[in-house]
């Protein structure tokens, strides 16, 4: 608990300022735990978790062809499980453990809390409010679900052809060299971006840009699915995708409102923003379809929901509701073009558009947050807030994340290739990964 409060000054405005806990060291009184906060954070943790196994598995799985359904779900589930085990072994310590005294502290923490050393049910973790803490195990769990879903998101670009074993190797390496460092940089008080004042309420950079860019790099190295883009590869069940969309939206409130770390007005602001930015994203994607001469589609609705959610993630507690609505709309429209115009032009095969939606949407969100944060636009920034300066900080964080994630992903994928061969045989790809990799069929009606 050797970190300084960075932003404990004013009451609410300031508590919204930073995106992760300022550990209370100097607080005069012993910090107390409010069971209301604990209750909300336990709930938020589960909400984020809900996003993974039924949520993302259905969203992604429904978009895949039925012969690969189980493969998608199992890859997501098993990668998430692996992430949890790695998290308690050394991930938590790497991201949120005690600081190095050297400059390394900008990038990772020490391994002193590896295997959760020293943590008991009585350990506490700070929130943004001086004197208010939550049980550390809750914080460990909450952050664990973030690590788990982020690695699962990456898989969206490589499913339907990557080997299960390759996923497992990739996940372990990628978490270690990409996710833990970036989480530290953005959210830990000693982290590079955190110190630079980058705004990332709930993980726009750490989760979405990170996952989206990694997904792009991974699918470029892996190569296209056989038959892409000539052969029709229609989603096998948009019904399931829509269910997944709904569950992702519900769970995302744990992500965004949970990132307040307290059950307070800031969490409520994050919640309302997560409602309206998303609603706006959904409707504007459908509108973009109409404007471009197509029918407003169900998949468009779902895609707009996700684009809105992604964009509002860094802005959740850093925007007013109407800033959030605009942000959701803009992100949705740009993602629409990224997915329907840019992708076909560039010709890469990001199977489920992990880059087109999480990557692009995350960038719009990260940069847009600097704008909607302004009090002139209804945001919670201080009166003397300068958009320009913050914009530079945000862009720097985005660019560094892109570079870091690209290099890290390339390394992780090449190691996975060396160990496992990376890609299933052509025969298995034709027949489907469900039978070829798992020996099962998803459906036996």
């Amino acid at each position: 608990m050797n970190r300084k409060i960075l932003c404990g000054a004013g009451a609410l405005g300031a508590s919204l300022f930073a995106a992760m806990p300022a550990w209370a060291q100097d607080a005069a009184a012993t910090p107390t735990i409010d069971k209301g906060d604990t209750a909300w954070m336990l709930t938020s943790t589960l909400l984020v978790f809900l996003m993974i196994l039924p949520g993302l598995a259905l969203f992604y799985g429904g978009l895949a062809r039925s012969k690969n359904m189980l493969s998608v779900m199992t890859q997501i589930g098993a990668a998430a499980c692996l992430a949890m085990l790695i998290w308690v072994m050394y991930g938590y310590s790497m991201a949120f453990g005690p600081d190095y005294t050297s400059g390394l502290s900008n990038f990772i923490s020490t391994f002193d809390k590896a295997f959760l050393k020293g943590i008991t049910p009585a350990s506490q973790a700070a929130t943004f409010t001086a004197g208010v803490e939550i049980p550390e195990y809750v914080f460990v769990c909450f952050q664990m679900t973030f690590a788990a879903i982020t690695v699962a998101l990456v898989l969206g670009s490589v499913v339907e052809r990557i080997k299960f074993s390759a996923v497992m190797v990739f996940a372990a390496i990628w978490l270690t060299i990409v996710y833990f460092p970036i989480a530290h940089m953005v959210w830990a008080a000693s982290g590079y971006f955190f110190k630079a004042g980058a705004l990332d309420f709930a993980g726009g950079t750490v989760v979405h840009i990170n996952a989206g860019v990694s997904a792009l790099v991974a699918c470029l190295i892996l190569g296209k699915r056989i038959g892409f883009p000539k052969e029709p590869m229609a989603p096998h069940s948009l019904t399931l995708t829509a269910v997944g969309t709904g569950l992702l939206w519900v769970g995302w409130f744990g992500f965004n409102a949970g990132s307040a770390l307290e059950a307070n007005g800031s969490a409520a602001l994050a919640m309302i923003n997560t409602f309206v930015a998303t609603a706006s994203g959904a409707l504007f994607w459908m509108l973009a379809e109409r404007v471009n001469g197509h029918k407003a589609s169900a998949l468009g609705f779902c895609s707009g929901v996700i684009a809105g959610l992604v964009a509002v993630t860094p802005a959740a507690g850093n925007s007013g509701p109407f800033g959030a609505i605009v942000l959701g709309a803009v992100a949705s429209i740009i993602c629409f073009y990224a997915v329907t115009v840019l992708k076909p032009k560039l010709g890469y095969d990001d199977s489920l558009d992990a880059f087109g939606i999480h990557g692009i949407g995350g960038m719009i969100g990260a940069i847009g947050t600097a704008i909607v944060y302004s009090p002139a636009l209804g945001g919670p920034g201080a009166a003397d807030y300068e958009i320009g300066a913050k914009l530079l900080v945000q862009i720097e964080a985005v660019v560094v994340t892109i570079i870091w994630a690209s290099i890290g992903t390339a390394i992780a994928i090449f190691i996975a290739k060396a160990i496992t061969g990376l890609r299933v045989s052509q025969e298995v790809e034709y027949e489907g990964l469900d039978l070829g990799e798992h020996g099962e069929r998803a459906y036996n009606y």
Binding site: P229, P232, M233, A234, P235, H294, K295, S297, L299, G300, S303, V339, T340, V341, K343, P344, D353
Partner: protein, 112 residues
């Protein structure tokens, strides 16, 4: 005996079945199929990927019938299943060498 295969629009199935029942057809077998023909299908678009497969859902009816009933069956199906719009389907008639009722082992016309 004849083996009649008709490809029709799905929503016509009930009407056809009733009409055939009315002229004394006691049984038939129905399969869901996809049809490819002059009728153009809807274009489907998923995130910018356009598929206009021209494969449309149709229903296939198979009826085995005595020689004398066959023309009546063909005529009935043609009339009832027609909407006069493209894609109404086809009727094919093949010769049926023999027929057996599994339950009893009966064969020939009485098996139908």
């Amino acid at each position: 005996m004849k083996f009649i295969i008709a490809i029709i629009k799905p929503f016509k199935l009930d009407e056809v079945r009733e009409a055939l029942g009315a002229i004394g057809v006691a049984g038939m077998t129905v399969t869901e199929v996809k049809g490819f023909g002059r009728q153009k299908g809807q274009t489907e678009i998923y995130r910018g990927a356009e598929y206009s497969t021209n494969m449309l859902p149709k229903v296939k009816i198979e009826v085995a019938a005595p020689d004398d009933l066959a023309p009546k069956i063909v005529e009935t199906i043609q009339q009832v299943a027609s909407t006069e719009a493209i894609g109404d389907g086809k009727i094919f008639v093949l010769d049926l060498a023999s027929a057996v009722r599994i339950r009893t082992g009966e064969s020939g016309d009485t098996a139908l």
